[in-house]
Every structure is written in structure tokens, then in C-alpha cells.
């Protein structure tokens, strides 16, 4: 993206984006825990995760990472296509 910022502005922006990345990773991690815990843990007759729950969580994390990767690729493609379309319209 052509941001039209000076070098100093870019540096300031970079710092803010790093903070945003940390925040986004924290959200992503939190959503992952919520999602896999909700889907996999339903037995409260003991206080330790059962073998079945452990397996489910582990598969859930793997599948969620693949989902994240795949959707990230699609998102990048679609976003690039949309940006092109919009800048063609604006010219």
C-alpha cells in the first residue's frame, strides 16, 4: 500500500503496528482457547483433562492453525483484488 507517509511518520506507524500485532495475537490466542475449550471440554466429573479431551484440544489447535493459514491466504488475495478494483475506479 502506498501510504504517502514520510520516513519519520513511517517509523512512528511501525511502532504502533507492533503494538497492534501483539494485541491481535493475544486476541487470536484467546479465541483459540475459547473455541477449543468450548468444543472439547464437557466433562466436569474430574479436574484434570481426560485423554479424550487432550486429544481433541490438540487436534483443534492444529486444525485452527491450518484454518488461520488458509483463510489468511484467501484474505490476502481477495483484499489485493478489491484494492486493485477500487484504485481502477478512482483513476
Amino acid at each position: 500500500m502506498d501510504t504517502g507517509l514520510t520516513a519519520a511518520e513511517s517509523r512512528e506507524l511501525d511502532q504502533r503496528l507492533q503494538k497492534r500485532q501483539v494485541k491481535e495475537f493475544m486476541n487470536l490466542f484467546g479465541n483459540l482457547v475459547d473455541n477449543c475449550f468450548t468444543a472439547c471440554v464437557d466433562d466436569f466429573t474430574s479436574k484434570a483433562l481426560s485423554g479424550r479431551e487432550n486429544g481433541c484440544i490438540s487436534r483443534c489447535v492444529m486444525k485452527s492453525m491450518s484454518t488461520q493459514t488458509r483463510l489468511g491466504e484467501r484474505f490476502g488475495e481477495l483484499n489485493a483484488a478489491m484494492s486493485n478494483e477500487l484504485s481502477n475506479k478512482n483513476i
Binding site: 479465541n31 487436534r59 486444525k63 491450518s66 488458509r70 483463510l71 477500487l86
Partner: protein, 91 residues
């Protein structure tokens, strides 16, 4: 992606940075909403497998495309309706 009107020429340095930051924030939030919604629509919640099934992968690709199309469509309709009703941002 400028459909929310960010990225227009802005005088001060702080405003220029904010504008780019906002634009990236919009994209990041859209991404995170897409992941949540397409996971819900496409991924089997029993997590019997740790790999994405073929059907799940295809579903994710189509869900991403439909999500983008919906996003753009809703954005355009919102602009038209808001203009027609003469309303501000609160509808």
C-alpha cells in the same frame, strides 16, 4: 481498501498516521471477523481429525469469497441508504 472513507489527504502528521493506522485496523478486524464466522460455518466441531478435510478447505475458500462479496455489497448499500435517509453515521 478505502470503502470507509479513510486514506483521504490529511494535513497534520498525527492525522496522516492515524488515517493509515485506522485503515489497517479496519482490514485486521475484517480478517478476524472472517476467521470467526467461516470457522463456525465450515469446521466440524467434533475435531475428530487434526487436518482440514477436503470439504472443509473448499468451504473455507468459498466462505472467504462470499464474506468479501457481502462486505462490499453491504458497504455500498449502507452508503446509498444513509445518503437517501440523509442520516449521519448513527444511521
Amino acid at each position: 481498501m478505502s470503502f470507509l472513507g479513510f486514506g483521504k489527504p490529511q494535513p497534520t502528521s498525527a492525522e496522516r498516521i492515524s488515517a493509515v493506522e485506522n485503515e489497517l485496523k479496519v482490514v485486521a478486524e475484517m480478517h478476524s471477523r472472517m476467521v470467526k464466522i467461516c470457522t463456525l460455518k465450515c469446521i466440524d466441531k467434533t475435531y475428530r481429525e487434526g487436518e482440514l478435510a477436503k470439504g472443509e478447505s473448499v468451504c473455507l475458500d468459498r466462505c472467504a469469497a462470499k464474506f468479501f462479496e457481502s462486505h462490499q455489497k453491504i458497504s455500498e448499500q449502507l452508503q446509498k441508504e444513509t445518503a437517501a435517509r440523509g442520516g449521519g453515521m448513527g444511521f
